[in-house]
Symmetry: C2
Subunit: 210 residues, 2 copies
């Protein structure tokens, strides 16, 4: 059984503890990847998957989470299902921050992904172009444009996660999850958080006799 | 005497305490606006100004600030020159945050402007489109996508300003300066901070016998 998490940039796959990503346009048919279950936040990328794997099953209708949030993405539901108490940070094209307490979702917020900050700066002015300095230190104020941009992006992301997490356990996933986890002592980094929630959903369904 | 602050989006003018903005493409010749002094962060927009007002004088070479920062924009230098001790937030297409102490510039950082967050979210996914909710409250976690995006953008900006300002006096300027100042008790909002620094520079030059 293969799981697929369709994001805004990539299709992420999971098989037997192994995780990998593929560009939607480069997807190729492989019978060994069946049966396949998926969740998606992109209708456009889902079309690519279903053209190559028409038998893939959408898990979203079976993903139940105790929440008052309207419009919570299937990937966020899945990641939250894997954590009964804690704060889940999924850092990809967007950075989502969700709060779980006693298996209940208390709400969450969204920041642009790290890559998007770079793009946004370039869109404001060509003077603000170039790669961010991800090794920036927070213990001194920046003394040049590149550091000023990097400090702004990173510090604002880290402070927002801190303010939401307070003393709760932090779980990081997504492409930049490993990088961001380094700013938080005791944080857990888990590439397969979304997939664990999907597996739990499948187990619940089977347990329920479906 | 008229002053002009050329930003990435608009040309901002100052005359006798009055401040107004014009799109570069809509600028029209008016002899009453002479003599004119300008600072600029956009070569492209500067061309528009100099086509209509070729006699306008660039103040940048005369703007001296005690700083180790390399590449500090002329508008930031001007705004900093108006504040001997405090933190200056200029909130336009970009949000710049600069720290002054005993007339010395200690460094600064840059965040995307509020409008850019909206653009950035839309670029990630059409699901994340729409106007931000600028009336968002920070006392509860967001329960829908629009609030989650608004909370992310605003909270991250406010926390970054707070962390840099600590107990220092805060000065807000720029198009979103008035809006952001509301989040900080005792903050000063001043549309003409950049122009005050330009006036100070001109006075210094005259005092120096130029």
């Amino acid at each position: 059984m293969v799981l697929c998490d369709i994001g805004n940039s990539y299709l992420h796959f999971y098989y037997n503890g192994r995780v990998w990503k593929v560009q939607a346009e480069r997807l190729e048919r492989d019978e060994a990847l069946l049966p396949m279950y998926y969740v998606s936040v992109s209708q456009k990328k889902t079309k690519y998957l279903l053209e190559i794997f028409p038998e893939a099953i959408n898990l979203t209708p079976y993903m139940l989470l105790d929440t008052a949030y309207i419009g919570l993405g299937a990937d966020r539901i899945a990641a939250c299902k894997g954590v009964s108490d804690g704060v889940i940070v999924d850092a990809g094209s967007a950075i989502t921050i969700d709060v779980m307490q006693d298996n209940m979702h208390l709400g969450g917020c969204i920041l642009p992904g790290l890559v998007m900050y770079g793009k946004m700066y370039r869109a404001i002015s060509s003077v603000l172009g170039g790669e961010l300095n991800l090794a920036i230190e927070f213990n001194a104020f920046p003394q040049n444009t590149r550091d000023a941009l990097s400090y702004g992006a990173l510090k604002s992301i880290v402070l927002t996660i801190e303010s939401i997490a307070k003393n709760k356990k932090l779980y990081f996933t997504g492409g930049d999850g490993k990088f961001l986890a380094r700013f938080f002592a005791g944080a857990i980094q888990d590439d397969s958080l979304v997939f664990k929630g999907m597996l739990r959903t499948i187990a619940e369904q089977k347990g329920g006799g479906r």
